[in-house]
């Protein structure tokens, strides 16, 4: 795996590399070099299986992180390729030519995160939503609870408790004395 990272690093600039488990590694690459890296990994290094492509919203840094999770059947290792892209007017190159099912993920990301993938087939089609008028719902600044309260009728009588306080009061009378629960990490 170290050699693989060296090989890739010789090819392009690798921004970060970390090892999560024996069979799970992450690398971070530049947005412009992603397609190059992915096709290299697929064609030359044997990472032929694209497990998923997903986005994480880092609202604070106003960035989206895209993760392409690849798998190599020979050395049995998962490799996550991470890319950071700008959050407003998010756009990314499409990889539908590399994997025949990638367009599905791109369609989903287009709908739920508002990331555009120019050229990807059927990317404008709706995936799970229908007649949606708000901002893409999986973005961090979309408040689903507020939307739900505004749109759907609430049945009166539903109460919400802070789970910690509630369980302390009602269920764990001897909360402090319980051996299973350590106080120090509160």
């Amino acid at each position: 795996m170290e050699q693989l990272v060296k090989r890739i690093n010789g090819m392009i600039h690798l921004k970060a590399y970390n090892r999560q488990r024996d069979d799970l590694f992450f690398i971070t690459v530049e947005k412009s070099q992603l397609e190059l890296v992915l096709s290299h990994l697929k064609n030359n290094e044997g990472f032929t299986h694209l497990a998923f492509l997903q986005a994480v919203d880092f609202l604070e840094d106003s960035k989206f992180q895209l993760t392409y999770m690849l798998y190599n059947y020979d050395i049995r290792v998962n490799l996550g390729v991470k890319v950071l892209i700008a959050r407003d007017k998010a756009e990314m190159t499409s990889i539908h030519k590399l994997w025949a099912h990638a367009w599905q993920y791109q369609r989903e990301l287009h709908e739920l995160f508002g990331i555009n993938f120019p050229g990807s087939p059927r990317v404008e089609e709706s995936f799970v939503l229908e007649g949606w008028e708000e901002m893409p719902p999986m973005r961090r600044d979309f408040d689903t609870k507020e939307y739900s309260e505004r749109t759907f009728y609430q049945r009166p009588g539903r109460s919400t408790n802070d789970p910690k306080e509630y369980m302390k009061e009602k269920m764990y009378k001897n909360y402090a004395a319980s051996p299973r629960i350590r106080r120090d990490d509160e």
Binding site: Q20, H49, A51, R76, W99, H101, Q104, T144, M167
Partner: protein, 399 residues
């Protein structure tokens, strides 16, 4: 059982030579010409697995073009989990896939343990293995009924789903829940096995094998079943990588990949899991492979029952789960469900709620890209059989 099915290799590019015009790799269909009919199957259709819709263009009985429509079961689990504390995620995740909820529970708890660096005790690992393998049996039994039912053989469905109910009874003894168990929590499992559980489970395994003997005789050896399933929906080995096909669907096409063997999790490394493959890749090969896998699961449960340690802790020493903060990090944990690779990608930012959880369901590609490819050129009477033979599960697609 030997490989009974024989069918000719067919490339995964659908044969559209009969149809007049192609533009950009898609047939141009003129509904006004009265040569084609648009036909919706689903969401309200008994032959469609779960709650999804397939928009078909048919010429006579033959499907010319297929398009799937998803989202009827979208509950926004991933969004909701961003609002829940880590332990509050557990009631949600098991609802992602209804026939086989335990894989979700395992993946989420393992992802949390991986991020927080928690070691799960030995006995809890064995109990998890038992739970996972039992849920595979339940799911396979349900699938077997669906596959027979989709070809008009109601009796098999009645038998196997009735038998699955007895497995659900075992789950109820073990976990307290019938369909949704919430058995695995971070750091271990909730409960130990009740008294007499092993004997009842062994008895049930014997009964299930008896039933499977009947099923083999009536279903898998049936000439009509063979004539309908052989050659239906052939997945070629090239297609496996291209479409990200996993699990029994890939193994039936000759891909030797089973996460239980290749990346062993819980206690599968110590168990004797055999790689079951076939080289034919049609619906009958898949059915046969799943049937053999079901037998293997029964073997495994027997072995696990013998090897579970009688005593020992079932939970690691955990911090207070109610405001448990997991250090920042990202991980991906996967497990072999009956449909294939079922994985959870979890991103933590150091707070008491996950930043992002993504569930990678195995049928994500099977039910959309692969189905749209395989459905072309088959008769509408085979569509239900094809969908079941891909073992699609819509709730894990749209989550």
């Amino acid at each position: 059982m030997s490989n009974l099915s024989e069918s000719k290799y067919r490339g995964y590019e659908a044969d559209r030579s009969k149809y007049p015009r192609m533009e950009n790799g898609k047939p141009v269909i003129d509904l006004e010409s009265h040569m084609y009919t648009k036909l919706w199957q689903g969401p309200q259709h008994p032959g469609v697995t779960g709650n999804m819709a397939v928009e078909l263009i048919v010429n006579g009985d033959e499907i010319v073009d297929a398009k799937t429509h998803m989202g009827y079961l979208h509950r926004a689990f991933e969004k909701l989990m961003e609002r829940r504390r880590y332990i509050q995620c557990f009631p949600l995740v098991c609802r992602i896939c209804v026939p086989e909820p335990d894989t979700n529970e395992y993946c989420v708890s393992a992802a949390m343990e991986d991020l927080a660096g928690i070691q799960v005790p030995e006995r809890a690992l064995w109990l998890r293995t038992l739970n996972l393998e039992m849920s595979r049996i339940g799911s396979y039994l349900m699938w077997l009924g669906g596959q027979a039912g989709s070809l008009g053989m109601g009796a098999i469905g009645q038998w196997t789903i009735g038998m699955r109910d007895f497995w659900l009874d075992l789950f109820e003894e073990m976990t307290g829940g019938r369909v949704y168990h919430m058995y695995m929590i971070p750091g271990g499992v909730r409960k130990t096995l009740p008294e007499g559980f092993r004997d009842r489970a062994r008895e049930l395994i014997v009964t299930t094998r008896k039933l499977l003997y009947d099923v083999e005789n009536t279903f898998l050896s049936n000439a009509i079943i063979k004539s309908r399933l052989q050659g239906l929906g052939v997945i070629s080995p090239e297609m496996v990588d291209e479409y990200g096909i996993v699990g029994p669907n890939a193994r039936a096409s000759g891909m030797e990949h089973d996460i239980r063997i290749n990346n062993p999790y819980v206690k599968y490394g110590e168990l004797d899991v055999k790689m079951l493959t076939s080289t034919v890749g049609d619906a009958y090969a898949r059915a046969e492979l799943r049937y053999r896998d079901l037998h293997q699961s029964l073997d495994l449960v027997t072995e696990i029952l013998n090897r579970i340690p009688q005593d020992g802790p079932i939970q690691a020493d955990m911090p207070n789960l109610l405001n448990w903060k997991i250090p920042a990090g990202q991980t991906y944990v996967k497990a072999e469900s009956t449909r294939g690779e079922h994985g959870f990608y979890m991103v933590s930012d150091g707070s008491d709620k996950p930043r992002r959880v993504f569930a990678r369901g195995a049928s994500y590609t099977h039910a959309i890209s692969v189905l749209e490819e395989l459905a072309v050129n088959i008769s509408i009477s085979d569509l239900a059989g094809l969908m079941v033979s891909l073992h699609t599960c819509p709730p894990e697609i749209e989550r």
